[in-house]
């Protein structure tokens, strides 16, 4: 099945990398897989540990760029630390300017306070008021209060300062285990934002296997997050002063 993307839509860049519950990884990969997007490039950085993946005999770089019509995707299969996140953000911004991207969309996970939540929610965080309409039209609850740290914070901060309208879709999830179930909520919201049909049946059928398959990536992501916290401890500012 080949999906058509409405050519009248804005040019959107979807950015995904491993984070809480691997929501970004699951959702972004699923979009690439379902839309059968073409790989059009790779992103390299001298400080990245040399890594290559092999799939069906084909060599893949860990950070790849995909495209189909007016949708672009940058997908990282490796978690990275904030020190590299800054450079990564600049690369993404440069790329989006080059491609005249109208909006960046990131997908990530958010730890539910009441775990597991009865009905996991999806929230949207925006860097630009022009995206309020996107939240409203797609019935996405606005992320009103909380803190973000690590790679996501670095990327978001950079996108905001450089004036690239960005929407982050946060799905409530289990932060320490791969959570494809929560990723389905993110994919459903993503589908509305991108105005494309994304059938989640395939991922639903393989959820348990995906959880086993992604144990190592989850562990590495947690290790990277822990390193981040050791290097840059979370600020313990009381809520009232935020």
């Amino acid at each position: 099945m080949t999906q058509k993307i409405n050519k009248k839509n804005k040019k959107i860049l979807l950015v995904g990398f491993p984070s809480s519950g691997l929501i970004g990884t699951f959702a972004t990969s699923y979009v690439v897989h379902t839309l059968k997007m073409n790989q059009i490039g790779e992103i390299d950085h001298p400080d990245l540990l040399p890594t290559l993946f092999v799939e069906n005999g084909e060599i893949l770089e860990p950070i790849r760029i995909y495209n189909k019509e007016n949708l672009f995707v940058i997908l990282s299969d490796i978690p990275f630390e904030p020190d590299l996140a800054s450079d990564f953000a600049e690369m993404v911004v440069n790329y989006s300017k080059e491609q005249k991207i109208d909006m960046i969309v990131m997908v990530s996970g958010l730890e539910a306070l009441n775990n597991p939540p009865a009905s996991p929610k999806v929230y949207g965080l925006i860097t630009d008021k022009s995206l309020e309409k996107t939240l409203y039209e797609n019935q996405i609850s606005k992320f009103l209060a909380g803190s973000i740290y690590g790679t996501e914070a670095k990327l978001l901060s950079k996108f905001r300062k450089l004036g690239v309208p960005t929407l982050v879709i946060y799905a409530e999830c289990h932060p320490f285990f791969p959570d494809p179930n929560a990723a389905i909520n993110a994919i459903t919201t993503l589908s509305k934002v991108l105005k494309i049909k994304l059938d989640t049946e395939d991922i639903k059928n393989k959820m348990e296997t995906l959880r086993i398959q992604h144990r190592n990536l989850m562990q590495e992501t947690l290790n990277a997050l822990q390193q981040k916290q050791e290097k840059h401890p979370k600020p313990k500012v009381p809520q009232i002063y935020r």
């Binding site: 897989h33 799939e55 299969d77 597991p116 320490f176 285990f177 296997t209 144990r215 562990q219």
Partner: protein, 133 residues
């Protein structure tokens, strides 16, 4: 990248570490190592295990004399991991976790839902009360 048609993802992350083994999975014994996390609360510890492809009846939890909790579970279907040109079969999950001190062993409870095992370990309170003058 998720490859929904392939089971090779477990090996992806090992390439850059220069390892040629499957994390701490035990190929000979066909045992997978599940993810787990231990969180501390004021009155208890919560130990969680991610056990997809498992049914409640096939889980065994043992607390040994050395304050170590051992979780074993049989998979409801065989799980295969491919590496290079080999295919390995797995039938079980198994992991042991050392518990902290000052726990109320008699009141440990567990629940299992949607492939997640949650073990609730109450803390004991010891010591003398200090009077405020």
């Amino acid at each position: 990248m998720i490859n929904l048609d392939d089971d090779t993802n477990n090996f992806k992350k090992l390439v850059h570490l220069g390892l040629n083994v499957i994390s701490s999975d035990d190929i000979e014994q066909q045992i997978l190592s599940p993810l787990s996390c231990l969180r501390e609360y004021e009155s208890k510890w919560i130990l969680e295990f991610d056990l997809p492809l498992v049914e409640k009846e096939h889980i065994s939890i043992t607390l040994d004399s050395g304050n170590k909790i051992i979780v074993e579970a049989k998979l409801k279907e065989k799980y295969y991991i491919s590496n290079f040109h080999e295919k390995y079969e797995f039938n079980y999950f198994k992991k042991s976790v050392n518990l902290p001190d000052n726990i109320d062993e008699a009141k440990i409870s567990a629940k299992f839902d949607n492939g997640r095992l949650v073990i609730i370990i109450p803390k004991t309170s010891k010591g003398n009360k200090i009077r405020i003058e």
